[in-house]
């Protein structure tokens, strides 16, 4: 007791010098370690960026970490518009536009369905809401491989297999359980009085949704948008299985370009293509950093 009191008063008497002294030693060690880890994380990106600006002659020398002696934008141009994926040689740009076309319907369908479902489950008294949420919770973790083949059969019977719509619909189906849970968790904190008052005012289910609930959903919308944009953009398997020959998203084009290339491999073009594919989600990440973390963790935990 006296000991603690003594140390406490000692610490209080000389707070500045003590604290500074203690932080110094361990502080340097921590910073060194963190910097080393930061190097491990950032070196691959650095290597890919410098490689994409090098000429093949310089790459052949094998100095991965060296800066380009002669900066060339040729690999980027080739990757964007000329590189071959399988039979077609139109660069990754083709995949870029397909990915964009897939992205918008996926976002609209999935967010449309899950926000309404989440709202209905959270704010309207439905007796079996609990069990249904539990089932959604289970569905959120089902790996695609398990339901993939029946979905192929289903999508073919709808007559849209191999189109952009097939990919978008499968994305929406797979995202629905998780997004619904996220929306439901957000909406359940809306005060009950507010909804009761709105119902009194002759507000119908849909009017309350569009006039009260949607306008207050900006935050959760950003979170969900980030989650969906990165998931859809980074997806490979759904695009591969459900996309037709002309409707392969960017990741599939990239994989076909890099993994199954014949003849002399143009590493600089490969790296430029990889970077082009990575840029959109990275832009989202750096532009909306705070929400990105929120979105990814919400997607991971609450699922």
């Amino acid at each position: 007791m006296t000991m603690t009191a003594q140390t406490a008063s000692l610490a209080a008497a000389t707070p500045r010098t003590r604290r500074r002294k203690r932080i110094r030693g361990s502080s340097i060690a921590i910073m060194v370690f963190l910097t080393m880890c930061a190097a491990f994380v950032s070196v691959p990106l650095y290597v890919v960026i410098v490689t994409s600006f090098k000429t093949m002659d310089q790459i052949a020398l094998g100095e991965v970490f060296a800066l380009p002696t002669e900066w060339t934008f040729e690999p980027w141009r080739e990757a964007w518009s000329e590189v071959c994926a399988g039979m077609t040689c139109e660069g990754v740009s083709r995949g870029f536009w397909v990915s964009m076309k897939i992205l918008f319907p996926s976002l609209l369908i999935s967010i449309g369905i899950s926000s309404v479902t989440g709202y209905a489950l959270a704010l309207w008294k439905i007796r079996w809401a609990g069990p249904f949420l539990f089932i959604l919770f289970l569905c959120a973790f089902v790996p695609l491989q398990i339901i993939m083949i029946p979905l192929v059969v289903l999508i073919s019977s709808l007559g849209i297999f191999g189109t952009i719509w097939a990919v978008a619909i499968v994305h929406s189906i797979l995202a629905m359980p998780l997004l619904t849970l996220i929306f439901r968790n957000f909406y359940k904190d809306v005060p009950e009085e507010l909804i009761n008052a709105a119902i009194m005012d002759c507000g119908s289910f849909w009017r309350i949704f569009f006039e009260i609930i949607l306008p207050m959903s900006a935050n959760i919308m950003i979170v969900v948008l980030i989650l969906m944009i990165t998931t859809v953009w980074n997806d490979y398997l759904i695009g591969l299985i459900f996309g037709g020959v002309g409707t392969q998203p960017m990741t599939v084009i990239l994989a076909n370009t890099v993994i199954t290339s014949f003849g002399e491999v143009q590493y600089n073009v490969d790296m430029a293509a990889a970077l082009l594919t990575a840029i959109p989600p990275l832009v989202v990440y750096f532009a909306l950093g705070k929400f990105f973390v929120q979105g990814i963790t919400a997607g991971a935990i609450k699922g």
Binding site: I113, A120, L138, F141, P150, L154, L254
Partner: protein, 298 residues
Amino acid sequence: MAVRWNWASPRIALIPAMTITAVAFFGAICWTIWISFTRSRRFPDYAIDFADWARQYERLFRDHAWETALKNVLILAIGSALAIVFGFILAAMIEREKRGEGFFRTLFLYPLAVSFIVTGIVWRWMFNPDLGIQGFLRGLGWESANFNWLADPQTAMYGIILASIWHGLGFYMALMLAGLKSINTEIWSAARLDGVSFWRLYIEIIIPMLKFTFLTCAILLSLGVVKTYDIVLAMTGGGPGTSTWTPAYFVINSYAARGNIGYASSAAVIMLLITAALFLPLVLLTAWQARRREAMAR
């Protein structure tokens, strides 16, 4: 009238979601299980031959590639667990040393934004024997440097693990950082006043307090490991041989390359069982947590 309509509207609004759940999840899972007992080849065949209903499973468990896939998923899980360990260490350091917090957090997390295909391609380049890291080390004069992991069936899996750690490290760090920040600040100052040593503080107080965060990380990691497909494809294409196959890869390969729906379905059913085994603890724990929280609130 309005009241009646308000009774019906929410139920109508739920129809799309319920249809998706019933058809695309429940129905599809049942379909896969059913098909896994049939002789389906390229096209589904709905007749079950009850005399030999487990044919696909018998074949599956005699298949060396499947054995490798199961083994790999285990190796991958153990190896990737390092991401949680390092994630915690990083989070603890960032939390302790507030300087540069934003910078390090942003840097460690960016790989998560990049797809597994890109991650795989990037790391494949790093592992390139002549032009990647190995070539660089040999160029420095370290002639015996060996970083050509992907070419050797023994080490290819470690290459994939390294790339997965690179991809996921920041995510576990972010989860751990959130966990650490939720710890009451009084604990830190109390521990400092009592002169509790650094190691004891972390091992005896902080880590036990974060056990739920650790568990969440572990379960998320294993669910992710079960799904591992893209990164394998981008780094090794399953090779050399079948040495880096995973169950997820096996399913796609049986379906797309071998054109055998029945076989692919049986492998998918085993995947489902693995997922369920990992998933049930999470569900039970969440339920238990919710109940405890409720009890505490009362």
